[in-house]
Amino acid sequence: MSPAPTLAVVGAGPAGLSAALAAALRGVRVTLLDSAAQAGGQFYRQPAEALGARHPKALHHQWRTWERLRDGLAQQVSAGRVQHMTERHVWFVERVGEVPEGRDPGNPDGRGPGGSDRRHFAVHALPGPEQEDSVAVYADAVVLATGGYEKVLPFPGWTLPGVLTAGGAQAMLKGGLVLPGRTAVVAGAGPLLMPVAVGLAAAGAEVAALVEAAGPSHFAGRSAALAAHPDKLAEGVGYLAQLLRHRVPLAARHTVVEAHGKDSVEAVTIAALDPAGRVRPGTERRIACDTLAVGHGMLPHTDLAEGLGCRVDGVNVAVDAEQRTDVPGVWAAGETIGIGGAALSLAEGHIAGRSAAARLRGAAPDPRTWAAAAKSRTRARKFAAALAAVYVPPAHWAEQLRDDTLVCRCEEVPASAVREAVEELGATDARSVKLLTRAGMGWCQGRMCSAAVAGLAGCEERSARRPFARPVPLGVLARATDEQAPEGGPADDEQNPS
């Protein structure tokens, strides 16, 4: 009997979990890798086990779906169909025609039935939290489900301690059961702000204001598109009710113009926005707080796809109706192909897992078998598009920047340097700005400043084409190939990576 085909799924959030389960239930042996210690991704981030949380549900929404994913994963793991590798920071996925000799004790000649090359991909990961060595997992196909990260546009004071991303505040709360301070302002633009404000308030923080750039007219303009999703609207109304209950004042069509403080944030100034997205002079008011949770939307993680040579459209990994990228054997699902929320990630992951399972067995999949998931994918994409049109950052955010406001947090590049590069030296894209100013060359590799740099340079946001998804220790790069997981095959246990 030929061995079962193998699939590596990178990312154990809603998309990766649903892909892993769909494939495992259809005869594929799955290795699920994630940098976190527990499955769940951003939406279903779980408290660290040692914290002994008896009611993690209190921090979450759509808990029933999580129970289904969690229990499904446990079943597939105990049946030996899924191996869940936690704390694996994947830095590179590589196409390997053939596994080099002696590198794969489980399958020494690297060949499958009939001598065919079965193992097409090596997934290279740094086991955490130290991330000092690298191990490789080999698989016939890969699903990339790495999600995204939050985007923040700069403003004076945004580098003060106590200013953090809205999702980051939520992640620290869900994962570590901690709050950054006592009094928080939640600000920016986007559907993430409401759940974050509700989460912080429910956990005991005083939320002094929810400051949202969108206003009633934005919603009114989209009411038809939004009304087509009564379930989602009900969710939004539920959040609003909770904000009221926690007495969180809502400042719609407002923006933060500055965060104040010496060693950490002590107050923020907010102001109303005019219809064009400019601050209305004279509307400024100051709110005391020790935390500012801020976000202006999200960006997909595309590095692994780019490393494989997959086509990326703008900032999103491009896929077809089956969630296949243009590189054979590589699927992508969830927010890595475009920001759209957990429900969309679930549907896309399911389709990716089913398509991969069929194709790994050499069969053309029948899309009718996943019609329900395809339908919810279509609906969720329409809803995400409607939301994206409503929640736009203030058009003239850059007018708030002072000369010394940092744009690149890592390399400490001020707005004046970026403006000089654009206005005087003629830079018209992020790459030239980077070469002229070092903006985007630091530790985060431009993830935190790319949106701002693109805005200041007046160019489209595009993915940055980073060589690796994680900083890689030089020693690892110096070794031509990785140490491999001792037992070889993806479904085998990986021990003592060294």
Binding site: A48, A58, V178
Partner: protein, 109 residues
């Protein structure tokens, strides 16, 4: 009636706290918490100063992406406080500038 805290809300029953030090000062930490979570609980929000302006920094993204939360733990620099669990007895120190001779991304220790 207990106070509204994240631990109460989630019905947490963590094991007994252990002790770590931050710049020599003892602070309690709960099993399972990251270095960043332990420092926040102790009221500390910054543990790094930047290379050029010497400005304080702490958690920004909270998920390992921004590298603003770099800190020294047991003599090892450039650890991301939002990812690294706090272990009993850990010596956590403020990382000043590049934390000695690190040239940037891709290089460690």
């Amino acid at each position: 009636m207990s106070k509204r805290t994240p631990l109460n809300l989630a019905g947490a029953r963590p094991g007994p706290p252990h002790t770590v030090t931050f710049d020599g000062r003892e602070i309690p930490a709960l099993p399972g918490q990251t270095v960043a979570a332990a420092l926040w609980t102790a009221g500390v929000v910054s543990w790094r100063t930047t290379r050029h302006r010497g400005e304080p920094r702490g958690v920004f993204c909270g998920i390992g992406v921004c590298f603003d939360c770099l800190v020294e733990v047991n003599g090892r620099i450039n650890q991301r406080a939002c990812l690294v669990p706090a272990a009993p007895g850990d010596e956590i120190r403020t990382q000043d500038g590049d934390g000695h001779g690190v040239d940037g991304p891709g290089e460690r220790r």
